[in-house]
């Protein structure tokens, strides 16, 4: 079981649960005019049944590509994928395109950031929902439509039967994202990959969608890979977190541990630079200087060393640090760990001076 305080999830997650997806040594590169760009460099993780794994990092850090590559949703060539990714007994990387078609949408569901690009504007949402179910589950048109109505109801679309023949533009942004989730779930996938699924939404709608996915996850037992740059969202939903930088996992830990005791200078820097509600400070934020590197011009040594204010010595500039287990289940790719006191000071928990207002009473406090 995860050691998360607060409400314990009612599904079985963590070490004891069955591994549904096991990724080893995943490398993704692209051929470019300026040579090969290494976008993902040797990623390993296990995803357990019912678990939520968050992948965080800046744009270009390899979050999306590392998951798109699992079912070759990137153009190959110029892309190249090596390593293994076992979904149950099947190694996805070794599958042919034909075989992958049966995995995508069926065993692995996707929810992307922009519902307008994942939905086809010229087809009704009913057609887009039933297509996969007829194809993958072999349902008749009538059965698929019945199930589509059920799914739309489940994701909270009012009067779903009437909306089946509507087109995407007839829905609001939040409702469209619900439709995309319904499609992602339509074939009861073992794994749902949500890539910045709530980034374009208002926080109020985001909260609705997060609750919805958590409920469905508890019901169906699926595992979720949640890709986001929003550390607040991660804090709310993740069992475990992978922090990516320049194509590598730089830190991996249980969510509670990662936020309370981050150890990689990048993770610490990221947390320290966040404005946090309830932090009364008004001065400068502890920004990380500089920019992340382009995948075509990765620095030698540690990918983060040009921006690292923690140590960044000769060794950091020349030698690539290995991913080390510094505590049970806590992996860090750095020669130097940020000491406890400094790391705790960066955490939001230590910076919050005013507690969130109590909202249990209706109306005015």
């Amino acid at each position: 079981m995860s050691s998360a305080p607060g409400p314990t999830p009612d599904h079985d997650v963590g070490e004891d649960a069955e591994v549904v997806l096991s990724v080893r040594d995943l490398d993704v590169s692209f051929g470019t005019k300026r040579g090969r760009a290494s976008v993902v460099r040797g990623i390993d993780y296990d995803l357990h049944r019912g678990e939520t794994l968050a992948i965080v990092g800046e744009s270009g850090s390899g979050k999306s590509v590392s998951t798109l590559a699992l079912t070759k949703l990137i153009p190959i060539p110029p892309g190249r994928v090596t390593g293994t990714a076992h979904l149950g007994a099947t190694d996805l990387i070794a599958l042919s395109e034909e075989e992958l078609v049966r995995v995508r949408g069926q065993r692995i569901g996707f929810v992307f950031q922009d519902p307008m690009t994942s939905l086809n504007p010229v087809h009704t949402i009913g057609r887009q929902l039933t297509e996969g179910m007829r194809h993958h589950l072999g349902l008749s048109e009538a059965d698929a439509r019945d199930r589509a109505v059920e799914l739309l109801a489940k994701v909270g679309i009012p009067s779903p039967a009437r909306r089946l023949d509507d087109y995407p533009h007839q829905f609001s942004g939040g409702m469209r994202q619900r439709v995309v989730i319904a499609i992602g779930l339509s074939c009861d996938p073992e794994v749902l990959i949500a890539d910045e699924a709530t980034t374009a939404l208002d926080v109020t709608t985001q909260a609705q969608i997060i609750d919805l996915i958590a409920e469905l996850q508890a019901d169906l037992g699926m595992a979720v890979v949640w890709i986001t740059h929003d550390l607040g969202v991660v804090a709310g939903i993740a069992d475990r977190v992978l922090v990516m930088y320049a194509g590598e996992v730089v830190e991996q830990a249980e969510a509670v541990t990662l936020f309370a005791r981050p150890r990689h200078p990048y993770t610490v820097g990221l947390l320290a630079s966040l404005p946090v509600l309830g932090d009364t400070e008004r001065g400068d934020l502890a920004a990380i200087p500089g920019l992340p590197p382009a995948p075509t011009s990765l620095p030698p040594g540690c990918g983060f060393h040009p921006r690292c204010s923690f140590r960044s010595d000769e060794r950091c500039a020349t030698e690539r640090p290995p991913l080390r287990e510094v505590a049970p289940g806590h992996l860090v790719r750095s020669f130097y760990e940020v000491p406890e006191e400094q790391s705790r000071r960066a955490s939001a928990a230590a910076r919050i001076e005013i507690e969130p207002p109590d909202v249990r009473d209706e109306g005015v406090a």
Partner: protein
């Protein structure tokens, strides 16, 4: 009472959409009153479509207000002639979420900044102009040499710095910052917020900071105004708003902001707001928030609540604080 730098009273911006019989009015901004002191930052928050951008544009007359008063440092902005408006514009600038939109992709960025100088006849003469452009870039953390490069050669964060340099070109007292960090990576957001902060300290700028990220708003703003369907529903000092939100919408909005601390985040109670914001074409009668409000009671559809002072220097528009407002006629 001191005179504020900017005073806005009952601002309306309505758009007509459709033709003939289908003609409808979008009440994008529908009675907004605001006050901003010199050198201070006022945050404007609310869900998308609630009218934040339109308010910002209307303050600078980049869209024409339908009615209301905008007084900037004693000048009635709506009364300015076309010519006077041009001169006045020097004092107020705007930066956008996507600096691409404000930079001409075919112009070297130095020229985009130069254009802003030329419009107001500032720093004329080749050398003076070039020096000024270089200085502005440097002020925003970029090397003067980058003036010759094109927008696509920069990262999002660098482009936002260029957008800021361009806004500073006319030496304004006031800048509308519309979601200036929303499109940036987390590690870059802090850099840009620090830059805005530093410029404010050094140049005495006042900002209207439009954003949906309440944590960022709380960090950079002196006061915060919460907007819903074209109206300000609450306005208070930044920590006061967080400590004791008085409007049910503000309470719901605050409870939806994720806090990057798993312990607090998982223990917290949330107010679930169901559904979407109603259309600004046909807002609900009485209180506009009543269709989503968990505290709604029968009077809410009969009185349109006025923004009133509910505690010291803290205003809210909700009938729970007294039935003050405009009765609905029909």
């Amino acid at each position: 009472m001191s005179t504020a730098l900017l005073e806005v009273e009952d601002l309306h911006v309505h758009f007509s959409v459709g033709r003939g019989r289908d003609r409808q009015t979008v009440r994008a901004v529908d009675g907004v009153s605001l006050r901003l002191e010199r050198g201070q930052t006022l945050g404007l928050v609310g869900e998308s479509g609630c009218g934040k951008t339109t308010t910002g544009l209307a303050l600078l007359r980049l869209v024409e207000p339908t009615s209301g008063r905008v007084v900037f440092d004693g000048t009635d902005v709506r009364a300015l002639s076309k010519r006077d408006l041009r001169a006045w514009r020097r004092r107020a600038a705007m930066i956008f979420q996507d600096p691409y939109a404000s930079l001409d992709p075919r112009l070297p960025v130095g020229e985009s900044i130069g254009e802003a100088l030329d419009i107001h006849g500032l720093h004329q003469g080749k050398q003076a102009r070039r020096d000024r452009i270089g200085h502005l870039l440097e002020r925003c953390g970029l090397h003067p040499r980058v003036a010759d490069r094109y927008p696509h050669e920069f990262s999002g964060g660098q482009r936002q710095r260029i957008g800021i340099a361009r806004a500073l070109a006319c030496e304004p007292d006031f800048i509308v910052c519309d979601e200036p960090i929303a499109a940036l990576d987390v590690s870059i957001q802090a850099q840009v917020m620090n830059l805005l902060n530093e410029l404010q300290q050094d140049l005495g700028l006042a900002y209207l900071f439009i954003a949906h990220d309440l944590a960022a708003v709380q960090h950079v703003c002196d006061r915060i105004a919460v907007m819903y369907l074209g109206r300000i529903v609450e306005e208070a000092e930044r920590l006061d708003l967080y400590r004791e939100p008085q409007h049910p919408y503000t309470q719901a909005l605050l409870s939806a902001i994720p806090i990057p601390d798993p312990v607090r985040e998982r223990e917290r109670e949330r107010i679930r707001l169901e559904g979407d914001v109603p259309s600004p074409i046909d807002p609900p009668s009485g209180c506009r928030f009543r269709t989503r409000c968990r505290a709604v009671f029968d009077t809410c559809e009969r009185i349109d609540p006025a923004l009133q002072e509910v505690t010291d220097d803290h205003r809210a528009a909700c009938l729970l604080h007294g039935e003050v407002g405009t009765p609905v006629t029909s």
